[in-house]
Symmetry: D2
Subunit: 143 residues, 4 copies
């Protein structure tokens, strides 16, 4: 598995936060958010993060590059419920020439609900891997 250690549980390690309110449509018959509904939360947060650093994903896509999802890992610590306001905290993880990882902590009212990692590659319109854009490689945490 390419995805390595679990993400930090220290909120101060996460420079970006995006808030999402749970829709009723995202709950299931257990009365909680369905586990499959968190991946779109992570995606929405990625998109807002890219916008916040002046590289909106629509611009990247307009240049013919998509950030394909190649691997994900999620740990569900405690459930979220309808109408909860989830704070999704994001930081950059490992970056290679062709891939990058993002780490996420999801909290509600400051208490942890879910942690997650997503791994991505840059692909062209044929779905072929290409080098990451320079601005993206430059985001790699210093070793």
């Amino acid at each position: 598995m390419r995805i390595g250690d679990a993400p930090s549980t220290n909120l101060s390690d996460y420079p970006f936060t995006h808030r999402i309110r749970v829709r009723f449509a995202e709950t299931d018959a257990m009365g909680i958010v369905h586990h499959g509904r968190y991946l779109p939360y992570l995606e929405e947060t990625r998109v807002e993060y890219l916008r916040s650093i002046d590289h909106p994903y629509t611009a990247t896509r307009a240049e013919g590059i998509d950030f394909s999802v190649i691997e994900v890992w999620l740990s569900y610590v405690a459930p979220c419920c309808f109408d909860d306001e989830i704070d999704v905290h994001l930081r950059i993880g490992a970056v290679t020439r062709a891939t990058f990882q993002l780490h996420y902590l999801l909290t509600v009212g400051g208490t942890m609900r879910t942690s997650a990692i997503t791994a991505h590659s840059a692909v062209n319109s044929d779905g072929r891997p290409v080098r990451l854009p320079t601005w993206l490689s430059a985001l790699a945490p210093s070793p």
Copy 2:
């Protein structure tokens, strides 16, 4: 509104039936199938219907034509639950040069749960309306 009278509630008016089993992911915190989850059921049934008359939707799309959804109506008579086997009954409704309607009855164990109508137009790869394929116009019920 283009969509007119409610669909027939007589099962024998429906020449095609497709069975779908409810996924847990399709339920909500009321313990029943979320009302937004029925549209993909109708879509899956349309696709199986087109396959059954030897015009698979993948072939139509490969020719550069999509069947855009322009209007929908659904009446939720009784709920469906996790693991229910839903029989989706389909018939052709009104057909014009550029649009067609489909009528649906959804039953579980023979009892009615939902009725629905969807209206579609044929569009090319730019999203512009085009004439219906001849085979599709030919499906129009005789007046």
Copy 3:
């Protein structure tokens, strides 16, 4: 069909507006928002509307009442795309002792994309219809 005339297309008839940004997960292989993804947009807007009039839906549910969806109608005028900011405009439609309707206009940058109506009944925890809460009946437009 209980749902009657098409909703007004005059934005000034709609006292409440809620903005939703399209997630990538809500698009489909036609490159646009999938038609089934609008129902959760309407739901999210209803929930925000109820919060705005100091009757949050969580409070109504805590009292043992759900607003069941009994009928929906949507007309897709023009597509929405990834990252679009959709303004969902809402107004109250017909109200009876046990049911109420909501009308919606969805615009992006002021141009119309979709109009919709949803009809609801109040149900108790057994799914049985009950009278609408008084505050809800009082929202009925004067005749």
Copy 4:
């Protein structure tokens, strides 16, 4: 992370297979199945597996036990497209007194698309962890 080694890529290690056809609603604007749509495929396959061993999930839920998802891992090797018939292969992974893991390989026409692991705990109606049912513990692979 509780989830350990990557799942076997040897199809003969997987005793159960369930076929799912991709819905159009499950695709995204990249023209492929959205990465978030695989979790419901895994869930549907778990449910069919439990039915196949005469322990339908509805029976377990009727006894007041849910199998909560506590961790997931997915590796997306190659994309799936609209109308693909995906064979989801399932085997039991690690089993403890209170948790169990499932491994999955997803293939289309015999070629690998995705591999995955899900980890679950048994919880009662309050969401509290309880011991696995005896029949489930008995499924643990011999060491």
